[in-house]
């Protein structure tokens, strides 16, 4: 039990910020689309189910729509584990799925419904064997693709392999299976823009700097050619050192993205993938663009999270006591709980199966119920206050400081000034310690030098993380319009709406952030970060 709702007839109106009288009425839909009918006796092929959104989506299908009688799930082989072994040893026992699998009647019941095919989107036809494709042909009604490299700045070849070539392979597969396709992208394909982002923007030939230099044109073929050339060039020039090659490729991707106006390699490659879909004649598809996906609101339980590339690093840094936050005072953070994303995807699947879908769906919150950045900064401060007041170890003076000083919204200039000050201070300490080393001998000073090195490394990681998020909290301010998903959700039947709904306007952000999201991150993500830090040499 994470939520304690008092037994009363008051409802929180998150948009107006006040309580309203009356119990909420059951939702009514027009019934033009019936999700239950759409899912009855259908076969779905899911790709990328091992990820954060994928697992929640799979759990939701199993839990809410027992009508789906056949799920084909593509799982990549991992070292010695076959796809099937990996699914039953890694995916099914995860906290999201284990309880639901138990409720269904255990692993055997899941095996009856689920078919695992081994494959890899990086290979032609997604690496699915020709016998299996022959078996699936004409049976699969819809393919849902959640596979992708979500890291912001990977080496450009890795990002292209999965996010671009992977989608090419996917399109071939979908054509061969004669199925419909749902592709999960991201809202941030919009690039460096401000204000309201429409869902009706043309996809093909899109690049964010379009309005600035009208002369340039963007074509997928050109980008593919560029990528191949870069990979070849970098391989030749940098010689054998693979580390250097990776670094060069990382830079190349970020520079190319910057050139066209995207925030990073991830959003750049995701946009190319969308353009590939839009450029394929005869393909029946819908693109789903979630914003920043965060801890679950209700399903499978409040606070479930395993996403690394979300606001988790920021929340953890806030909890560790970072005080100055360079954010926009008038901007929202476009976040959306993962279970709402899964519900949105299910609604769109139903619409596609009924052929009543739109082309693009934004899944975001700020259009209806924005959470402003300064409010989040205040939450981070209160969390740090709580943690440091009750912290056992560490420097007591530092803890007291972190417990009683509130977080602040600062400007970018002030951020740079603060950084310079800290580095100057550390330099002075370093000089002092070096002097001490010559006077007092190495053994006495060495531990202090080591802790200084650690502090420096920590500060540098912090700076890199903040810089990575600056486009989303300072330089750009987006509101993604979500008209399409609202309209489609209203077309469902009332029976469907008891199982899935689209209702970000009801999220009580204070309760969500403090009691669900922050606690979820502390519980699920902090151990993951600690483990990954330890495994690094």
């Amino acid at each position: 039990m994470t939520a304690v709702e008092p037994w009363q007839d008051w409802r929180w109106n998150a948009v107006r910020g006040e309580y309203e009288a009356g119990v909420s009425e059951p939702l009514q839909g027009t019934g033009e689309i019936s999700a239950i009918d759409a899912f009855s006796n259908r076969t779905m092929l899911l790709l990328g189910c091992t990820g954060f959104v994928g697992k929640v989506l799979l759990a939701m299908i199993l839990d809410r729509f027992p009508e789906v009688n056949h799920l084909v799930i593509q799982v990549r082989r991992k070292k010695k584990l076959t796809g099937e072994q990996r699914f039953y040893s890694e995916v099914l026992p995860s906290p999201v799925l284990c309880q639901i699998a138990e409720r269904l009647g255990g692993e055997d019941e899941v095996r009856r419904k689920v078919q695992i095919v081994e494959g890899d989107v990086n290979e032609p036809l997604c690496g699915i064997s020709s016998e299996q494709i022959a078996q699936l042909q004409g049976k699969v009604d819809i393919v849902v693709n959640l596979a992708g490299v979500v890291e912001f700045d990977p080496p450009v070849n890795e990002s292209f392999a999965t996010n671009v070539y992977g989608v090419q392979h996917l399109i071939e597969l979908v054509k061969l299976l004669d199925a419909k396709l749902i592709h999960v992208s991201t809202c941030y394909v919009a690039g460096k823009k401000n204000g309201r982002i429409s869902e009706d923007e043309p996809i093909e030939g899109y690049f964010p700097k379009h309005s600035e230099n009208g002369g340039a044109t963007f074509s997928v073929a050109e980008e593919l050619k560029w990528c191949e050339e870069v990979i070849q060039d970098t391989g030749q020039r940098s010689g054998a050192d693979p580390r250097q090659v990776r670094e060069r490729l990382r830079e190349a991707g970020m520079n190319r993205a910057e050139h066209w106006g995207w925030t990073n390699t991830y959003t750049y490659t995701k946009s190319i993938a969308e353009q590939l879909l839009a450029g394929t004649p005869g393909l029946q598809y819908a693109i789903i663009r979630p914003a920043i996906v965060e801890s679950s609101l209700r399903f499978p339980f409040p606070g479930w999270n395993e996403g690394f590339t979300t606001s988790a690093p920021l929340v953890l840094m806030g909890g560790d006591g970072l005080k100055g936050w360079p954010v926009r005072k008038d901007g929202p953070l476009e976040i959306i709980p993962v279970d709402l994303v899964a519900e949105g995807i299910l609604i769109v699947i139903a619409a596609v199966l009924f052929r009543k879908n739109k082309r693009v769906y934004h899944l975001a919150s700020a259009d209806e119920n924005p959470i402003m950045l300064p409010r989040l900064v205040a939450f981070l401060g209160m969390n740090s206050r709580y943690k440091h007041k009750h912290k056992e170890g560490g420097n007591r003076l530092a803890n007291a400081w972190k417990a009683y000083v509130e977080t602040q919204v600062i400007t970018v200039e002030s951020l740079h000034a603060r950084r310079a000050r800290i580095h100057r201070g550390l330099d002075v300490i370093h000089a002092g310690l070096t002097l001490g080393k010559t006077l007092l001998g190495e053994t006495r000073v060495a531990p202090y030098l080591k802790s200084l090195r650690d502090t420096r490394r920590q500060i540098r990681t912090q700076e890199v993380t903040i810089d990575k998020f600056l486009p989303f909290m300072l330089y750009n301010s987006f509101i993604f319009e979500t008209r399409n998903i609202r309209e489609t959700a209203r077309m469902l039947t009332s029976e469907d709406l008891k199982r899935v709904r689209w209702d970000p306007e009801t999220i009580d952000w204070a309760d969500y952030w403090v009691n669900i999201h922050t606690k979820g991150i502390e519980k699920w993500i902090r151990p993951m970060f600690a483990a990954s830090r330890k495994s690094r040499p």
Partner: protein
């Protein structure tokens, strides 16, 4: 039919009261200057609150909630866990958890019925493991507290009315249910159930309990003897 155990909070399960919770928020304002200003306001209001408490519990509550006027809801929710650790948890009576565990072992649904506010109750309810909470909520305009409570204010007769409403909705047999409170203001609440227990009673409630031959329970002492209906059921 189900049965339930209705608990009052302050004075019954812990010694902390409304003024102390408000004092916490006052001294943890955004800056030191604001904290000092808010805290001195609270201290000045203490004598007035004492006088009001003697006169009527409802008007006491009404006045004490006014101190929240102007506070942002984010802050009230964001500091609730710290409030619990700092102010509420240390004031829990030694036998409180044992009593709640006993009633839940005996099949009672544990329900907290209190005049305190929803955000302060949340960590308490999780700590004790309550199944349901009936409490007050502040009124907000654009996320800022107006200093009023959403009507009807939960106190005295209203507690009894809400318990009856809850019982009829959730199919609970009040004659086999029990209630725990420390204050004579909760006599209506105690009277609605078949097994009322005067818990750490005030002098006034002790007198009433003796007249009506209600059992008296002390949670402040390290060991305590349970009232007969809880013991008898346990043997069965």
């Amino acid at each position: 039919m189900n049965k339930a155990a209705f608990y009052d909070l302050s004075g019954t399960l812990l010694s902390c009261n409304l003024v102390m919770t408000h004092g916490y928020y006052a001294r943890n304002d955004r800056s030191l200057v604001k904290s000092v200003y808010q805290l001195s306001k609270v201290l000045l209001s203490v004598p007035l609150l004492f006088a009001l408490d003697l006169y009527s519990r409802a008007s006491f509550n009404d006045y004490s909630f006014r101190a929240y006027r102007g506070m942002h809801r984010d802050r009230l929710i964001g500091l609730a866990d710290d409030l619990f650790e700092v102010t509420l948890k240390p004031s829990i009576y030694p036998q409180a958890q044992a009593l709640i565990d006993t009633t839940s072992d005996l099949g009672y649904r544990n329900i907290l019925v209190t005049g305190a506010l929803d955000f302060t109750i949340r960590p308490i309810a999780l700590h004790f493991g309550f199944d349901e909470v009936i409490c007050n909520r502040l009124e907000f305009r654009n996320h800022v507290a107006t200093g009023r409570v959403l009507p009807p204010l939960l106190a005295e007769d209203e507690k009894a009315r809400r318990i009856r409403g809850y019982a009829s909705q959730e199919d609970i047999d009040l004659a086999h249910s029990c209630a725990f409170s420390d204050s004579s203001a909760d006599v209506p609440m105690l009277s609605t159930v078949g097994h009322p227990v005067a818990t750490n009673p005030t002098r006034r409630l002790r007198r009433i309990a003796m007249q009506k031959s209600w059992p008296i329970l002390e949670l402040r002492e390290p060991s305590t003897s349970l009232p007969p209906f809880l013991r008898a059921a346990k043997v069965v």
